[in-house]
């Protein structure tokens, strides 16, 4: 990387972007945006979806999606007047002096071309250097970005590297031309929390090294707190607040900023009132895809899942993507029959396959899908969607059903007039409410919520969570709450099940979860959640290296060894890589680890091996 030779200051005055509607009229996406940024600083654009943050960021490159028109008194980046440049001049600036890092690297990389060709493309199209020099420079960058096999990773195709690596490769693609301004558009949003922290750390250090000015677009205040010098808060295309990061985070002047901040720190809810009876018992569940031989599917996803939930209790299921969280919901609902093990409802064993369950059993377990957009039939009205479970499970029809639908809508705080609207006329939050009401219409005993707030904005999601919490308490519903958002789960649930690669590494009550004893993987997960404190990233020690070099190809799934072995910072040679991990049960906690609970409580990595 070249030294911090050039960093541009950015000045924006009176920026508006208008989109042209189908009927020819134009509508402002963002209006009257002004800010300025000294060279070498990082500005964060913060806001919810639709707030226009990406639109503003793209306007810095003279680009607008869907043929929007950019107008501004001034958009100045260094010595360039972006607002006065024509398309040809802009093409020369993009990827050369101003670079862009997109939200989803998986979509932004061309699937048909090797990574190297795409990373060095900005240098080649702007004629900055020869192919050979460009490749050498790319390899230097790969190394700086802590990518594995920097010499050869460029010859792979995008689908052959992980999401976190691809995101870093995109940073290489942006930084390779030594830009004066880097625009990062939610660069870590699509990543798992454990990956996010590492990517964030690398981004921060390479941007600091390159000395470039940066504009960081995000909806996540805690992430922004780690990287930004200045913050601009946006709502509905207008600026709410603009100031130094510390001031915005600690003493927000604007009401909306305060709402954003409080939604990001959910208050813990009181423990649930639970009855003595066990409602949902899951024991020894093994499930996966493909042909099942001896109770083991060809592609196992879940192994040995056990838990019991009392009436009115909530279980939070957390883990990285691919850990089998959604599969667990599908197994309980009967969408994916378990290969082994059983699901009991009030002590009564129910069939693994949904088709073999009675209508009454189906009614008692309801699944709320993550994405209300696709879960609701766009051809039906809200009234039809809600009347269907009423007729199917309760035989309620006609005027009675109409009254009940109105009741349900009232319950989810939507006006009864919405009954005649179709789902595609509703906002994201309204759709998710209807999706919930559909599940509540069946009057279930068990509610399975699969990432119900992850597609929603923070403030809207927080309102949905409040609603679920209130209704489940009122109706005494047992809830399984699946989420990758540990903060939410901790505030919401009585019990926490931590899944790693389909194995339950830890099952704890909320109290023990808050305590010091944690499975190493849980510790990694919890420690990776960014905090609002700007010093958090700097203070957080770099992720500890795995203690044992275990090649992942030796197949953690094929052996009963600890699944976390290859990533575990406290694994013990001679024990963890030889014997399957024992299950340790103490009051309110079940851990799957070789270490004793006393050792797991210690914050530092353990040096003394434990006796097998």
């Amino acid at each position: 990387m070249s030294p911090a030779a050039k960093a541009a200051s950015v000045d924006v005055r009176g920026l508006s972007v208008h989109a042209v509607r189908a009927d020819g009229s134009s509508k402002a996406i963002v209006e009257d945006i002004s800010f300025s940024l000294p060279p070498g600083e990082v500005l964060a654009l913060i806001g919810e979806s639709g707030s226009g943050k990406t639109t503003i960021a793209l306007a810095m490159m003279g680009f607008s999606r869907f043929g929007g028109t950019i107008s501004a008194e001034e958009i100045r980046v260094g010595d360039m007047r972006i607002d006065q440049m024509d398309e040809h001049a802009l093409t020369g600036v993009r990827g050369h002096r101003i670079a862009y890092i997109a939200q989803s690297a998986a979509a932004a990389f061309n699937p048909s071309r090797p990574i190297m060709a795409q990373v060095i493309e900005p240098l080649l199209v702007h004629g900055q250097c020869s192919r050979k020099a460009a490749e050498a420079k790319a390899i230097t960058l790969f190394r700086a970005l802590a990518l594995p096999e920097p010499e050869t990773i460029g010859s792979r195709y995008p689908h052959q590297v992980s999401g976190g690596q691809l995101q870093r490769l995109m940073a290489a693609m942006a930084l390779i031309s030594d830009p004066e301004l880097v625009i990062l558009d939610e660069p870590t949003t699509a990543l798992d929390v454990t990956t996010q922290v590492e990517v964030l750390r690398t981004f921060k250090s390479v941007i600091a090294q390159s000395g470039a000015t940066a504009i960081y677009v995000s909806h996540d205040l805690a992430v922004v707190a780690q990287v930004a010098d200045r913050i601009v808060v946006l709502k509905d295309g207008r600026m709410c607040e603009d100031g130094r990061a510390g001031q915005i985070l600690e003493a927000p002047a604007n009401g909306y900023t305060r709402a954003l901040l409080s939604a990001a720190r959910p208050a813990a809810r009181p423990a649930s009132q639970t009855a003595a009876e066990n409602v949902l018992t899951v024991s020894g569940i093994h499930a996966g895809y493909g042909r099942v031989t001896d109770g083991v599917p060809a592609i196992p996803v879940l192994t040995n899942i056990d838990f019991t939930l009392k009436r009115g209790a909530t279980l939070g299921v957390i883990g990285e993507s691919g850990s089998g969280k959604s599969t667990l919901a599908r197994v309980i609902a009967g969408l994916l029959p378990a290969a082994r093990g059983e699901v009991r409802l009030e002590g009564e064993r129910i069939a693994p396959r949904m088709e073999d369950r009675s209508r009454e059993q189906l009614r008692r377990i309801q699944l709320v899908f993550q994405n209300a957009d696709t879960a609701l039939n766009p051809a039906q009205t809200v009234g039809q969607i809600l009347a269907r479970p009423l007729a199917f499970y309760h035989g309620i029809k006609g005027a009675q059903a109409h009254a009940r639908v109105a009741e349900l809508l009232d319950m989810i705080r939507l006006p009864a007039s919405i009954m005649d609207r179709r789902s595609n006329e509703l906002s994201g939050g309204q759709k998710q409410r209807v999706n919930l009401a559909r599940a509540f219409a069946a009057q279930p005993d068990v509610l399975l919520c699969d990432e119900v707030t992850s597609a929603l904005d923070t403030v809207v999601g927080a309102a949905i969570l409040d609603l679920i919490d209130e209704l489940r308490r009122e109706l005494g519903i047992t809830t399984v709450f699946i989420s990758h958002d540990i903060t939410t789960v901790r505030a919401f649930c009585d019990q926490m099940l931590v899944l790693y690669a389909g194995t339950p590494v830890e099952l704890s009550t909320r109290e023990t979860f808050a305590g010091a004893v944690r499975h190493p993987y849980t510790r990694l997960l919890v420690d990776s959640v960014p905090e609002m404190d700007p010093e958090w990233l700097a203070q957080r020690a770099a992720a500890e290296r795995p203690a044992l070099a275990v090649s992942p190809s030796s197949g953690p799934r094929s052996q009963p060894l600890c699944r976390f072995l290859a990533r575990c910072p406290v694994a013990v040679a001679g024990t963890c890589d030889v014997l399957p991990p024992p299950v340790q049960e103490t009051a309110g906690q079940r851990l799957m680890c070789h270490h004793t609970t006393a050792q797991l409580a210690a914050p530092a990595p353990l040096s003394e091996p434990v006796a097998p």
Binding site: L58, M61, F63, R65, T91, G92, V93, R94, G95, H96, A99, Y100, A102, S104, A107, A108, F109, N110, P111, S112, R113, E121, P122, V125, H126, P148, E149, I153, R156, Y157, H159, Q160, V161, S162, Q165, M173, S551, P552, S553
Partner: protein, 326 residues
């Protein structure tokens, strides 16, 4: 995760995939041969009846049938026919009394020439129309091309051919209205006589292909990687050539193969109008004269061409997709 990515040799992982695809093509061809044989046996009347005419007595017909081997059970005749076909002998024409292979070898080069000239011209035209309307989506050019291609798909080819004859042969006196293809014709004569058939056939396949190419390219243009390439400052022509085309190749090849397979067998109307001595008109003659061996051979040629084109399209799509390739 990435460390776990295995680096197999590309060929080793591809060969089974392609072999599987080829095997299924062979199996399909075998099933098609059964269908062709069964259907040709369902035609009312047979060659014996046809060649003796209306006045023949049932005894005479029966005798000729026995002589031709038509009175044996179907599966025996099928097995015999299939072995003959496999050994490269499609049999003897009942009507012309000469080997089917000879008759076909007179016609096949004509059809191949017509098809290949049309194919080359129409693929280039379709690519140009499809890509230019995709990159100018919603513009006047796109709408104009849309109307033209839609109309050409909708207009029956005999109308295009007749109009072509009317304009170029009758009014302008530029081109012959009948395709006189013979061995001693000069190059320019052949080209001139082929012009109108190629034009009529080309119209319909160009329109089909252009619409499918437009859809494939437009779909890719909406992807995030195209926006990313623009934000990297890649000139638009390079985005089309190096980013969009590699991804659109699979669907485009499929569209092209589908349209081209039409050129072999679907040229009947054009062949008839221009009196062009091709395979399609030969096959229709074989049906009317109940010349079953000839009919079966023609049908098998059309089916085999179709299957080969589809196979090529699939293999190209596999080769173009790095997820399948590496």
């Amino acid at each position: 995760m990435a460390a776990a990515v295995s680096r197999r040799s590309p060929l080793a992982s591809l060969l089974p995939l392609i072999a599987k695809r080829a095997a299924s093509a062979v199996l399909t061809l075998f099933l098609v041969s059964m269908v062709v044989f069964a259907i040709s046996a369902l035609l009312p009347g047979d060659a014996a009846q046809e060649s003796l005419g209306q006045s023949a007595t049932p005894e005479q017909i029966a005798a000729l049938r026995h002589e031709m081997g038509l009175d044996r059970p179907g599966y025996v005749r099928y097995a015999e026919w299939l072995t003959d076909m496999l050994s490269g002998d499609p049999g003897q024409s009942y009507v012309a009394n000469q080997p089917v292979a000879d008759i076909i070898s007179q016609r096949l080069p004509n059809t191949l020439m017509l098809a290949s000239v049309t194919a080359v011209l129409s693929v280039f035209a379709a690519l140009a129309i499809g890509i230019s309307s995709a990159i100018n989506r919603g513009s006047r050019l796109d709408r104009a091309l849309n109307i033209v291609t839609l109309s050409l798909v909708a207009i029956p080819e005999f109308l295009v051919a007749t109009l072509g004859v009317l304009v170029f042969s009758v009014k302008l006196l530029l081109l012959p209205s009948i395709a006189l293809v013979s061995e001693d014709a000069t190059w320019s004569e052949t080209l001139r006589s082929m012009a109108l058939p190629v034009f009529s056939l080309g119209c319909i396949v160009v329109a089909q292909m252009a619409r499918m190419i437009r859809a494939a390219v437009a779909d890719q243009l909406d992807r995030s990687y195209v926006e990313m390439a623009r934000l990297k400052g890649v000139p638009f022509s390079c985005i089309i050539t190096f980013h969009v085309m590699p991804n659109a190749l699979g669907p485009i090849i499929n569209a092209v193969a589908l349209s081209l397979s039409y050129l072999m067998g679907g040229a009947l109307i054009v062949e008839t109008i221009f009196n062009f001595p091709g395979l399609a008109s030969l096959m229709v003659n074989a049906v009317t004269s109940r010349d079953i061996p000839l009919l079966q051979s023609c049908a098998m040629i059309f089916c085999a061409t179709y299957l080969v084109l589809m196979l090529v399209a699939d293999v190209v799509a596999i080769l173009a997709n790095p997820r399948l390739r590496a």
